[in-house]
């Protein structure tokens, strides 16, 4: 029988809107957790999948030793797909023409991810046939061969099978790499290129589920040699770091959102319990035992929790679906990932929220004694320390659960608690001070301030929650803006999407002119020349022991990191101890001016002859000090340069960057080629085609596709950021609503009393609105100060962004506070501000 009554009461409470704030708060908490964890997961996996396309596999193992069948067997036993690749440099002969090339021999399964496109006699396909070689277009031009011609590769004679149109894991030979040749793995033996001591890079390609790949990694550990390396996604790259920041932002936002939603749930549960004390006393007086009362009200709590978590879960999953859909459009062949993790997180969130925030108030509610019916007073509104404690534990638990990072959660929690206490203190002082201030004010203002004072503790607590809610929203708003701004700078509109390399001095001028005629703006023409660093202060550098392909690629990538692609191919390994050289030629440049995206971290930009400016990380690697003497070799010539400065280079910028910049006097007499970057609109592709026809030795590297992808990732992430900001803002508003509502009854009675005492309605309305405006102003100012402090900390520590004062924050914070609270106050209290005194009095008395 009780179930029927409980259900009816529940339904009616729901209709009356009593339970909605709790339900919304719970739902918001669940939604935040589910959507955030889902979205970050899927964006991360999308990035993984995308970078898989760039490595032609999910995971690549590089080795300088021949393939070990055991490794491949292990992988196949785990159900992973495998492919093999061998890379080496060799001379290619076509009649009288010859060229040093980079050969990539692949097994039939290649590529496991991404697409290979070959232009063969039989049309476009992706089959690397045994007995054939496939050439890069410019190589065919250099060698003057066609499909069907025979070439000498080492000892083997192979037929030109076709032209490589698209290669998923193409090296980003931005700056003068060897042209690419592809062939089948089975032909390698016949070339006799592989001799003891020759530099060969062996690559195992794997594809499959993340779990199995992890498993493989541990399984084959004992089989690996010292120089075997797993190739990994590099977080330093443009997209990697953008995403990294976004992830951190989402994590932070999620944590703050959860805290807010939880706070709203707690406040709402308290209010609910206070409002229902009389009802519980009544049903108890009517003969309901305490266990029965508990059954009724706990069933309400359970229903609300269940309902809210279900809605939160569904909405969260919907958000995930939407994001997956968007990702699917953006990555071809994107495989949606749905882990049950986010659902579990959501359910746990709901349980923790309702258990630790609402259980206690509802327990207290059902403990109200029946005798209360004879006491004509509102239930007690003392602070329940148990709830404060259980609430704090809950917040911490939620943060931990969500972030999986006890340290971050603990710090953030302590920060919030600290802020809360500060605010409470501030508020108490301010509210006390408000009295003398009120003297001599208009009477409505005076009444408002008097009211503020009278509910001192309640108001201090309110002020604290208002400020916290505003503060968190402001912080996220500005962080988001900051991140977007950073990304925009990184990939500005019309960012250079074409690189021209290998131009001679004369070609450079002609090309510059032609581009200008076509209305295309070119950036700096960087002179470039290959050279080695031989010695530091006369001490010869050791050659690193590394397989050649990986070494050149890895250094190339981190040196002139101009795209995600190079980043994806960067090996994790850096050679360790000792002062080791680069083991290869570096691209050197000389400039009289410091490039815009470089920053001197120590020393001075060139102020004399024979100087060199070294990139910071490389300086560390070579253990350089300012004033050290470097010996360079270009061709057969050697010269010395003094280290005059260290530079920080923004590798995220899609601009040419150099490890070593030399003072102009050193290199003027060396034959250099030039490099430049420019933006080519889609519509003007013909300009480029014409240019290449005219200057066949000039190479073009297009990063248009990569740029597009970077931009689209940033767009998606921005969207996610905006979404989360909305969620957090909603949580904040919910906190405010719950708080204001909590005081409605009390205000109702006060207003009724004041009205019966003859106060005019307009006057009372004004007083109430002033009160809210004052609260809003205070909360806004507090929030602004705290936000500025936290922004400074977060920006510098978490996102490694430079600090700057947020001027607009100082306007936005207080104004938002005043407007939001006044509007909310007016909306929520309009019921009791508008009606006639009679109905007001009746309502007050019926409470």
């Amino acid at each position: 029988m009780w179930a029927k009554v409980a259900w009816r009461l529940f339904w009616r409470e729901l209709k009356n809107g009593e339970l909605w704030v709790i339900a919304f708060a719970l739902m918001l908490a669940v939604l935040t957790v589910v959507s955030l964890s889902g979205i970050t997961d899927s964006v991360r996996s999308a990035l993984m999948q995308r970078s898989s396309n760039f490595t032609a596999a999910d995971k690549v193992l590089r080795s300088s030793s021949p393939f070990q069948p055991e490794i491949l067997q292990q992988a196949e036993q785990l159900g992973l797909q495998t492919a093999q690749q061998i890379q080496f440099n060799t001379m290619l002969f076509a009649g009288d023409n010859m060229q040093l090339v980079n050969v990539k021999a692949v097994s039939s399964q290649y590529p496991l991810r991404g697409e290979l496109l070959l232009d063969t006699a039989a049309g476009q396909n992706s089959i690397v046939a045994p007995g054939s070689v496939y050439l890069e277009a410019r190589l065919a031009q250099i060698l003057a061969v066609r499909v069907g011609d025979l070439l000498d590769v080492g000892a083997a004679k192979l037929k030109v099978g076709g032209i490589i149109l698209e290669e998923p894991d193409a090296p980003l030979n931005l700056f003068g790499g060897q042209p690419r040749v592809m062939m089948h793995l089975s032909d390698v033996a016949a070339t006799e290129v592989i001799q003891p001591g020759s530099r060969i890079s062996y690559r195992y390609l794997f594809a499959g589920s993340e779990v199995k790949l992890k498993q493989l990694e541990t399984d084959i550990k004992p089989l690996l040699n010292a120089n075997d390396r797993w190739q990994q996604l590099d977080r330093q790259s443009a997209v990697g770091s953008a995403l990294d920041r976004a992830e951190r932002f989402l994590l932070l936002a999620g944590l703050l959102g959860i805290v807010l939603a939880a706070a709203a749930a707690a406040v709402a549960a308290n209010r609910y319990s206070q409002r229902h004390q009389m009802a519980v006393a009544v049903i108890k007086a009517l003969g309901v035992t305490a266990p029965l009362a508990r059954k009724i009200y706990f069933s309400h709590l359970a229903l609300v929790t269940g309902f809210a978590s279900l809605c939160g879960l569904l909405l969260g999953l919907l958000a995930n679906f939407a994001v997956q859909g968007i990702l699917g459009q953006w990555i071809e062949g994107y495989q949606a990932v749905f882990s049950s993790k986010s659902a579990w997180l959501g359910i746990s969130t709901a349980l923790i929220c309702s258990l630790l925030f609402s259980l206690r108030p509802v327990w207290r509610l059902t403990a109200v004694p029946a005798i209360e019916v004879l006491r004509q007073q509102n239930g007690d509104s003392r602070i329940d320390y148990w709830q404060l404690l259980s609430g704090s534990v809950a917040v911490l638990a939620l943060m931990w659960l969500f972030s999986g990072d006890i340290w971050l959660s603990g710090m953030l929690f302590l920060a919030c608690a600290g802020f809360g206490l500060c605010l409470l203190g501030f508020a108490a002082v301010l509210v006390r001070v408000a009295k003398p201030m009120a003297a001599g004010q208009s009477s409505a203002l005076k009444l408002a301030l008097a009211n503020l004072r009278r509910r001192l503790w309640q108001n201090s607590f309110q002020l604290m929650t208002f400020s916290l809610a505003l503060f968190l929203t402001l912080v996220l708003y500005f962080l988001r803006a900051e991140l977007l701004e950073q990304w925009k700078q990184q990939v500005p509109e019309n960012a250079p999407n074409q690189f021209l390399v290998n131009m001679t001095a004369t070609e450079k001028d002609q090309i510059a002119q032609q581009l200008q005629q076509a209305g295309l703006a070119t950036g700096t023409f960087y002179p470039m020349i290959s050279g080695r660093v031989l010695a530091v202060n006369g001490e010869m550098l050791q050659e690193p022991e590394q397989d050649d392909g990986a070494a050149s690629r890895s250094n190339q990538a981190s040196k002139q990191q101009s795209s995600e692609q190079s980043a994806a191919q960067q090996s994790t390994a850096e050679p360790a101890s000792g002062r080791q050289g680069f083991g290869r030629e570096l691209n050197l440049s000389w400039l009289s001016e410091l490039p815009a995206n470089n920053q001197i971290t120590a020393g001075q930009w060139f102020d004399g002859p024979a100087q060199v400016s070294v990139e910071q990380q490389q300086a560390e690697r070579l253990q350089l000090k300012l004033g050290d003497k470097l010996t360079f070799a270009i061709g057969g010539q050697q010269f010395d340069a003094t280290v005059s400065s260290f530079r920080k280079v923004d590798w995220n910028s899609l601009q040419p960057n150099f490890f070593m910049l030399l003072s102009p006097d050193l290199m003027e007499h060396f034959p250099a080629t030039y490099l430049t970057a420019f933006y080519l609109p889609e519509t003007q592709q013909s300009v480029l085609t014409a240019l290449l026809k005219q200057f066949p030795t000039v190479s073009v590297i297009s990063v248009a596709v990569i740029l597009q992808q970077v931009t689209s990732i940033i767009d998606q992430v921005s969207l996610a950021l905006t979404l989360i900001l909305i969620l957090v803002f909603a949580a904040a508003v919910l906190v405010l609503v719950a708080q204001v509502q909590a005081t409605v009854e009390q205000r109702e009675q006060e207003l009724a009393i004041l009205r019966t005492l003859g106060a005019r309605g307009r006057f009372l309305r004004q007083a109430v609105l002033y009160e809210f405006a004052a609260l809003g102003l205070l909360a806004g100012v507090f929030a602004t100060i705290l936000a500025e402090v936290l922004l400074a900390i977060v920006q510098m520590r978490m996102f490694q962004l430079p600090f700057n004062l947020h001027q607009s924050l100082w306007g936005l914070g207080p104004v938002t506070g005043v407007v939001l609270l006044t509007v909310l106050g007016a909306l929520l209290l309009r019921g009791i501000l508008q009606p006639t005194p009679a109905s007001l009095i009746r309502r007050a008395l019926h409470n």
Binding site: A279, I371, L845, H846
Partner: protein, 238 residues
């Protein structure tokens, strides 16, 4: 304690004290009171004299500090909260000064609530009957906020009678109503008291209302005396 069925409520040496910081406050001292089945009893007295406190003890809403209370043949001062609640569910009805309807439920639902909680079957039919009896059949589905004070109190009376309680406690049932409405509410109480044979115990400030009861008690600073009807000349009770 032997109990005759006629003695529906009985108290012996009933005391209620509350501990305040520093001293103890004696709210009720040595109350000895007997109320028979079907009686109508008024308790009058100054504000703060302890009337509501006594009502709470008689109805088993609270327990005394010392002394005994017998309600419907059972000692209730030794029962725990839940046992007393069950006893109330069986025998007791309430009407309060401020009505205390559940705002979320309609008039009819408020009326049927005690019967439904007690698992009675025909709650709705009888609820409608009772609402008709108090003249509110038109307002059955209204919510308390949509009803006037007098209407609310009539709903409360209907609620009090739905379980056909043997005893009805009313704490200033008409204090919040204008005198005409108050009178109508009082009429209803007495009518139902007579027709259903309910014992009626009411607390009031209103001497006219008190005069309508068969017996009147005066509460003065926690002590109870029965006001003697002139004709019968009975002696003090307490």
């Amino acid at each position: 304690m032997s109990v005759t069925p006629e003695l529906f409520i009985q108290t012996r040496q009933l005391c209620k004290q509350v501990a305040l910081p520093g001293n103890t406050l004696n709210i009720l001292t040595d109350i000895n009171l007997t109320i028979n089945r079907g009686d109508s009893v008024a308790i009058v007295g100054a504000s703060g004299s302890g009337k509501s406190t006594l009502l709470g003890l008689l109805a088993g809403l609270d327990v005394p500090s010392s002394g005994e209370v017998v309600l419907a043949g059972q000692r209730i001062d030794t029962l725990n909260d839940d046992a007393r609640a069950e006893l109330r569910a069986q025998h007791v009805g309430f009407v309060f000064q401020s009505f205390l309807l559940l705002p979320a439920l309609s008039a009819l639902e408020n009326v049927t609530l005690p019967a439904e909680l007690a698992g009675q079957r025909d709650a709705t039919a009888r609820g409608k009957q009772l609402l008709e009896l108090v003249g509110l059949s038109e307002r059955m589905h209204f919510f308390p906020a949509q009803l006037s004070g007098g209407e609310q109190q009539r709903v409360a009376i209907a609620r009090a009678f739905i379980t056909q309680p043997a005893i009805l406690f009313a704490d200033e049932p008409s204090a919040n109503l204008d005198s005409a409405t108050g009178r109508r509410v009082e009429d209803l109480l007495f009518e139902l008291n007579r027709s259903q044979g309910t014992t009626l115990v009411l607390v009031t400030h209103n001497p006219q209302l008190a005069a309508r009861c068969q017996r009147q008690f005066l509460m003065d600073a926690g002590r109870l005396t029965e006001a003697l009807p002139m004709a019968e000349g009975r002696s003090h009770v307490g």
